[in-house]
Amino acid sequence: MSTRVPPADIRPSTRPPWMEKDGPILLGAKIIVLVVVCLLVLYPFANIIGTSLASEQEIIRRNGLVILLPSEPTLAAYKSIFAGGVVTRAMMISIGVTLVGTAVNLVATVLLAYALSRPILGGRFILMTVLLTMLFGAGLIPNFLLVTALGLSNTYAALIVPGLISAFNFLVLRNFFQNIPDELVDAARVDGAGDIAILTRIVLPLAKAPLAVVTLFYAVGHWNSFFNALLYLDSSKWPLALVLRSIVLQGQPVGGEITPSIGEAVPSIQGLQSAVVVVALVPILLVYPFLQRYFTQGVLTGAIKG
């Protein structure tokens, strides 16, 4: 006998109130709030894009506020950035370091997280050591001495090796791996699969969401990092973030802009600085939408211990 489902309008609601359909007033209020928030978020973007396309005279005339399209758009700032080849080369370096660094980071983190997600001899000691790095850092000078002593000065490895495994990303993956049922692993082992085969054929295919999240974290970290490059690399090897930062900070004296630069001529370069911000943002804006659907799911999955 089939069960008749009563019509929706008389069906008792078992859903939470916030999942109920909104009335017109509430819907309108929500739309207004969201539109206002969106405009507030988009305003600085519009300002930066507009300023990057404006001439110096127009920027001065409008006191730095050029929303969207200026009256006399020009690509002079972008031409200036990409002339000379410095930014192009830096971009290639950043792409290389991000790709290689993210791959190396992932391999190391996955291996460590999987190994420590299973009971192994000495596992607790290694786990505590990894977690300790989240709480205490050696500081700038000891890290510098260590990297120099390892012979990594002025090499791209100095950007990758010191931060090879992030404790936070390790925890995200480890927690996920721990939630994989032992029965799955045991079944695979009964079929003759070794640890590597279990990892690659069973565990990793189930871990797409946290892997995407960890990949994003590492990739964005590599793309934006500049401080280690400043300490360890010659200017000919600077990644994009550091080159663009030096353009943005042009003319800034030591200690910031508290007193005028008595000794140095400081040119007006707001258009250039805005173009730099746009150039730095574009690659991340291109990549992020493809990983967004994994982002929330992955973070929550890894964060909640089962």
Binding site: L140, A149, W238, P253, V254, P260, I262
Partner: protein, 537 residues
């Protein structure tokens, strides 16, 4: 991959961290250590300065002065003569670490100017380029890592005990440059003595100066706006107030003064009131500028200006870039900015008569506060190597009008610059290549150069009026251990109170107690040390 250096034991790592801490807290250790140069007592630096030998290879349109005011040129010699006869490096290489205020230059391999300079030096020049804002961090890590380049820009903001640091780490240049010994390096001899005096620490010459125009000036005035308002450049404090009130028309969005973070507008007011440059010396007695009646009077005057509404509203919170923009938009007629900003204002404000503001009046003065940008120091090495590096410094100190100066500042002709009516005009490629910061190793005496004769004349006249008025800091060549230890900390505490008063968060009644606190916190001890040194000189 190399393995961990067995010498990098726990002690080395801790030692590296502690060395930085020792540098920061160096003053507590300096008292316990005896060394021949590090002063634990105040002393006057009386080492013989390098002889000054003016370069006479180029005749200026407007002459320089013995006090250090720059010469004026409206043309560059068609056929500049070389000032260096022998390539200093002779096949060797040199490493330099210095800061940059501009974008990164084209790398050495593709940089025509850099390659040409290396050819002139007769060796290779590798520069570790560091953005100016990051230079203190890089400087600290470089020192702690004990991996010093041959030459580096000295950063005194991160070193509390500069003489001790220099003695331990850097080459003493006194035997090579003092008195007539500098004649071996004629371009260095053409640097004014006043610049060399900034390079003396612990009574020894350690630094190579990067000279500037002696005074940072008193800001700029838009003379066109004054003319439109029917007023002229003021003489004296009262006239200045009257001119400011005449200029101010809020309904037309026009004001008299643009301020910015740190109350930068105070500097021209200090100069109008005759506030001394750091210290005033009367006989053998020293008075700090904070303690003078003139300083308190300036604060009262500033409050009067604020109350009269002559300042651009909200400008006390703006940054330097916004300050410049406001001035270019003609929001106000007076702004404080360093004199080197003149070309930027001139280029951006065509049709406006922008001039350096020259303080006038019975009490007015200017400070000799821009004698050098900074100084570079050399790593300890044997005498032959030091001479070699000084030869490179001599190359970069080539005066205006020489072949080396043209190459360093304008690059290779046909690549980095073109001659237009005899004037070297930098090409787009040159703009990319010439941001290389070799001018922050050492540099010649400044020169005013522009094909616009009126501009050169105006600027030259202003500088030549101000430099003779420039009041030096009477203790600039004296080392005070207490100043090294606590000077900047107690000064900051006092200027915080000053800024609170101007912002209305405190009243003038709190000024005297704050000055008293400065005295008790170390100011009196600093004064005592300076006076002791002066008395013993």
């Amino acid at each position: 991959m190399t393995y961990l250096d067995p010498k990098l034991k726990r002690r080395t790592v801790l030692g590296g961290a502690l060395s930085l801490g020792a540098l920061a807290a160096g003053t507590t250790l300096s008292g316990c250590r005896t060394s021949k140069n590090t002063p634990t007592e105040p002393q006057v630096n009386d080492v013989a300065m390098p002889d000054f030998v003016e370069y006479d290879g180029v005749k200026p349109d407007l002459p320089a002065t013995a006090e250090g005011a720059p010469a004026g040129f409206t043309a560059y010699p068609e056929d500049p003569k070389p000032s260096v006869t022998e390539a200093p490096l002779d096949g060797a290489s040199m490493t330099l670490m210095t800061n940059i205020f501009n974008a990164l230059p084209t790398p050495k391999g593709q940089n025509a100017a850099w390659k040409a300079i290396e050819k002139g030096l007769g060796g290779t020049l590798d520069i570790t380029i560091v953005p100016a804002t990051d230079y203190p961090t890089k400087f600290q890590t470089t020192i702690a890592g004990k991996n010093l380049p041959d030459a580096m820009l000295l950063d005194t903001t991160t070193v509390d005990d500069v003489p001790r640091f220099l003695e331990a780490t850097c080459a003493d240049l006194t035997p090579f440059l003092s008195a007539d010994k500098v004649h071996d390096f004629p371009n260095l001899a053409a640097i004014p003595t006043i610049a060399w005096e900034e390079c003396v620490h612990g009574n020894r010459i350690y630094g190579l100066p990067i000279p500037r125009g002696v005074t940072g000036g008193a800001g700029f005035v838009n003379a066109t706006m004054l003319k439109e308002a029917g007023v002229s450049s003021p003489s004296g404090v009262d006239e200045f107030f009257d001119v400011c009130t005449e200029l101010t028309a809020p309904k037309k969005n026009r004001y008299a003064i643009i301020n910015s973070k740190g109350n930068t507008f105070l500097t021209p007011l200090f100069l109008l009131h005759g506030v001394p440059n750091s210290w005033r010396l009367e006989g053998e007695a020293l008075t700090k500028s904070y303690e003078t009646e003139e300083y308190a009077a300036t604060l009262e005057f500033a409050l009067k200006l604020i109350k009269a509404g002559v300042m651009v509203p909200g400008s006390d919170g703006i940054d330097g870039q916004t300050r410049k923009n406001y001035f270019k938009q003609r929001k106000a007629a007076f702004v404080y900015d360093g004199l080197p900003a003149m070309p930027d204002y001139r280029n951006s404000m065509k049709g406006q008569d922008v001039q350096p503001f020259v303080p006038a009046g019975d009490d007015a003065l200017v400070w000799a506060d821009n004698i050098v940008f900074g100084q570079s120091v050399l790593k300890k090495a044997d005498d032959d190597r030091i001479r070699q590096l000084l030869g490179v410094a001599n190359y970069f100190a080539a005066p205006f009008g020489t072949a080396e100066h043209l190459l360093i500042n304008f690059g290779v002709e046909g690549v980095d610059h073109q001659r237009k009516k005899g004037v070297p005009t930098i090409t787009p490629k040159g703009e990319q290549e010439l941001t290389a910061p070799w001018t922050y190793f050492t540099a010649p005496k400044e020169a005013i150069f522009d094909p616009d004769a009126d501009y050169v004349a105006t600027y030259h006249k202003a500088i030549n009026t101000m430099v003779p008025m420039a009041v030096p800091d009477p203790v600039s060549n004296i080392t005070s251990p207490t100043e090294d230890k606590v000077g900047s900390k107690i000064a900051k505490a006092l200027t915080d109170v000053r800024d609170d008063i101007l912002a209305g968060r405190a009243t003038m009644t709190e000024w005297e107690p704050a000055v008293k606190k400065w005295r008790e916190g170390g100011g009196d001890k600093i004064r005592e040390e300076y006076e002791q040194a002066l008395a013993g000189a």
